[in-house]
Symmetry: C2
Subunit: 430 residues, 2 copies
Amino acid sequence: MVRQAQSELATTRSITHPRQPARRQLFAQTAAAAAGLAGLAAAGQARAALPVPESNLRPGTPIPENEYGMPSKFEAHVKRRRTDVLVNKQNFSDWSFTPVHQQHGIVTPNGLIYERHHNGVPEIDPEQHRFAIHGMVRQPLVFTMSDLMRYPSVSRFYFMECSGNGLTDWLKPAAKTVQQTHGLLSCTQWTGVPLSVLLDEAGVDPKATWGLAEGADGSAHARSLPIKKLMDDALLVYATGGEMLRAENGYPLRLFIPGWEGNVSIKWLRRLKMGDQPWHLRSETARYTDPMPNGKWRQFSFAMEAKSVITSPSGSMKVQRGPVEIIGFAWSGLGKIRAVDVTVDGGRTWRKAELEEPVLDKCLTRFRLRWNWDGSPAKIASRAVDSTGYVQPTVEDIQKVRAITGFVQHHNGIFPWAINTAGEVSNAIA
Amino acid sequence: MVRQAQSELATTRSITHPRQPARRQLFAQTAAAAAGLAGLAAAGQARAALPVPESNLRPGTPIPENEYGMPSKFEAHVKRRRTDVLVNKQNFSDWSFTPVHQQHGIVTPNGLIYERHHNGVPEIDPEQHRFAIHGMVRQPLVFTMSDLMRYPSVSRFYFMECSGNGLTDWLKPAAKTVQQTHGLLSCTQWTGVPLSVLLDEAGVDPKATWGLAEGADGSAHARSLPIKKLMDDALLVYATGGEMLRAENGYPLRLFIPGWEGNVSIKWLRRLKMGDQPWHLRSETARYTDPMPNGKWRQFSFAMEAKSVITSPSGSMKVQRGPVEIIGFAWSGLGKIRAVDVTVDGGRTWRKAELEEPVLDKCLTRFRLRWNWDGSPAKIASRAVDSTGYVQPTVEDIQKVRAITGFVQHHNGIFPWAINTAGEVSNAIA
């Protein structure tokens, strides 16, 4: 079979290919190689046209006992990375960024979900972990993990984004790659128990309006959350992407608040205290607030508004003349993505991108647009519209309602990439 | 904040809990512990009721440079496993099974996607890899990986199942766990190029009716496939679950044939040859065929028909009296899952299970049913119905149209689990 096929492959020859200039050269080289072997038998020429790979000629690696697989050694460059723009003095309170330009589809691999810790990653034994609901409830409750895992669970696809995603790149370029401008963004299927079920069991006092969620980490990171959201779609999550949480993502238990800034989805969750007002914690006064034009600071701006970014071509990539597929992500913390427009001329004209199914609520949506790059300088960007009708703003639009001074949270502005005549792509925010 | 909360937690006390018998005991123990500290201050009692975890008292582990994350050490038991039922003399042609009972949601983690190799896992450098389309085409084509990755891609959620999934358990129990009865089953989002796009470029001869797909592995595993399916929804896949293929799943390129037996989705794909008849290869004569009652063997039974299985409770698990959530997977290679029925009395009566969205074509669908186990012996099973109206059969139904002798492929029969008075769950196929 294989040998017969090899000689047939001798018919494989150089072709011109209108849509793939790069390939034309490939075939020229292949033909030259074949010509160099003109004196050999057909099978010989076949090998020149399409050599039988070494891997066909010997057994591969057998299956190990009880294995958990890892990526190919040829993909070792695909990693979460710390920022080289905003360098911390220490790395206990730190970030690592998802390589969104290397993500295929909408599911972020568990090993690449972005990290944000306020005092490092705790090691928690699930047998020892407890979760409590207390405060303004009829009946305080304490749960073990095995208690929680007996409850009916749900699995839902949602994005998660840090409120600081993009904060180094408001008014002039700072980061080079989309991993560093937009990599505090991940998407996965979250599995856990609807919080409303447990709050109903505890019997929340009708006067309770807020809940305090606190983690079991070294910073005891905590946030105040309005009861309306807690009863709506908040989840007590123990699994993502098909398996139990990774330690850095809250193992064994975390809160997940769909569509809201990531820091409220408290990891390593140990308690939820119900009360009748917010607690005004450090993360609600010194952090995670937005400066307003009048000099005041806005608290509790939880929802991540509609946003999108082109992930390919993106910063530090190089494009070739001819067909280019422009792809990216769009998402909204307030609903589904309704449309994405793409410009290749710096915003003068916009074209509708194709959205890939499934398009889900509060979930990453893939958009794609076919483009033919003629080699002249170009500025490309995307603009998302969500199911509420909200249109992703420009930075100029945002400046009309907020003060942009230094590192500011909640940057959902339209983000442009520049392509020069050499095909080099760079951050064009300005 | 934290200290104040601790003293408030002293109010946490033992309760009875109608829906969670296990928890009643937990609270009794907790109360006893608190009582043992009666002489201490409120804060002391608080710690007895809900001790401040060690993890709150010190920094955790900082973020490493350029990291690819791994599961928690407490989850080290969640692995792909080789079978202990059908032991191979050697493990170059072998299987490893997905722990479907430990999977949450519908996405199988890339490290746990089941494996089936005919001669081990080759190591292939993507720079060196080539894919050819030849045979009955107007223009033979050879592609590099970078050629292929410039094409417009699609990302789609599909299940993948080996035709041998369940072959040890037709007429009497052999395997103990659902990982070994049904673990040759995985589901992920597949990213790649529709094969139809490349076949159109090659210009398929109108007389061509079949294609031969061959891998670059040590077995040169190959299958004949009808052109209708190749032009319909076949994909040239380079990524799953958000990242490039793992070596054991075909890196850098594989064929994926949605809904059909896994062995036709040729891994490490190096060529597709178009022809006007099937090749009747070893994998189409000596393997992957079905014995019929008349003594003949059926070839080319590609589609995996509608099937389902309860993954929890399942073999080797233990259930407690009271509320039990019955959960499992349903799937069909011929469409979407329309309904899943569940029996808890060995098939005398059936109840509609809840299906979790999104319910996608040729994709795993999660079903759930609330059940209250009273402690008496029970036999539970699920039955899937797909969008074509096809109903998952019993083994007896299948025996009417096929010969079941020894290890037979394509077992989509209803699969029961028995629960004894001790709550122990076991394989009840018979």
